[in-house]
Assembly symmetry: C2
Homo-oligomer: 200 residues x 2
Amino acid sequence: MGLEAAHADGARAAPARRSGTRQQIIDAAVALIANRGFSATSVDDIAAAAGVAKGSIFYIFGSKTDMFEQILSEGVRRLTDDLRAAGAGLTGASALAALVTELLRNVHEHPAFAKLMTAEVFRTGRHWQDSIRLVRDESMAVFADVVHEARPDLDAALVGAAVFGATLVTGLEWLAFQPERTFDEVRAAILATTHGLLPG
Amino acid sequence: MGLEAAHADGARAAPARRSGTRQQIIDAAVALIANRGFSATSVDDIAAAAGVAKGSIFYIFGSKTDMFEQILSEGVRRLTDDLRAAGAGLTGASALAALVTELLRNVHEHPAFAKLMTAEVFRTGRHWQDSIRLVRDESMAVFADVVHEARPDLDAALVGAAVFGATLVTGLEWLAFQPERTFDEVRAAILATTHGLLPG
């Protein structure tokens, strides 16, 4: 991935400034790509929106495709970490409610990334598909594990995907089309939908 | 939309051939755009894949953007019609099961369109956003109406979106990552997830 190498370089050179620039580029790229798509967003656009020189993007990320691959992988990995932390020590319906709440919080906090992830994660024929497959699987597995533990009679991988999908799509629907709803209303609607699934 | 006009033209000129060409272009465009995205797909690519002259695409659809707008609107309208037909005369849990089954069948039958719809429907800043908003709302409303009738205590619009999302994402997950599962297994997993939602 070259990410660790990039971090190590940054630490040797100018850690705070480097990490600030990197995050500025990521934020600008996610916002632009979420609305226009990957191909319609040029490195020039990203550099202008981030307020950095175009050369910085190539220096930090390698290429536009490498940059996007790193953004997707890191974002999904952050989501997985957040989900694991939210569900730690819980089982059954309480665990599932904690995961739904945390995924919804993530969509609310990073709406552009959530759109981009939704748009890209089912595409085939993309350069980066294999590299995000692994982190994607880990994220889905957090839901599947909770289902499997409480209801071994169910197909945990598919049911986990269903709860993930219910939360993701309802969160995006909320932000794009029903912004007058509150976080708690949206959360309650998702939990009502999956109410009969797990005991506890 | 210009669609009715295009159909009328076709009927006057060479109905069978025209409608065959139009569908070839749509099928090619959906397949390419679903995997590469809208901007990365050129009219030349679409013409080559459809085996038609580039001029036919402009003659039939006007522009690349108009073409995509028509594809999205028509596809979502077809889905809405299928959902309404599937739920006709049913209420409560039976109606919801019929809608889930029909949406899953649609995803299975038109996987490229399902990917493309998922990728595009939450984007903002696209030219065609307003035009697909209406048909999108109609599609979501089929689910919301069933929820509202059986459970007026719930936020039907959000719960409808949750069931829609659970079905769409599980269907895409199935086709992209777990193709060894059967239709009935996937359907059963979604229905288990929403099992406690509606009586009947």
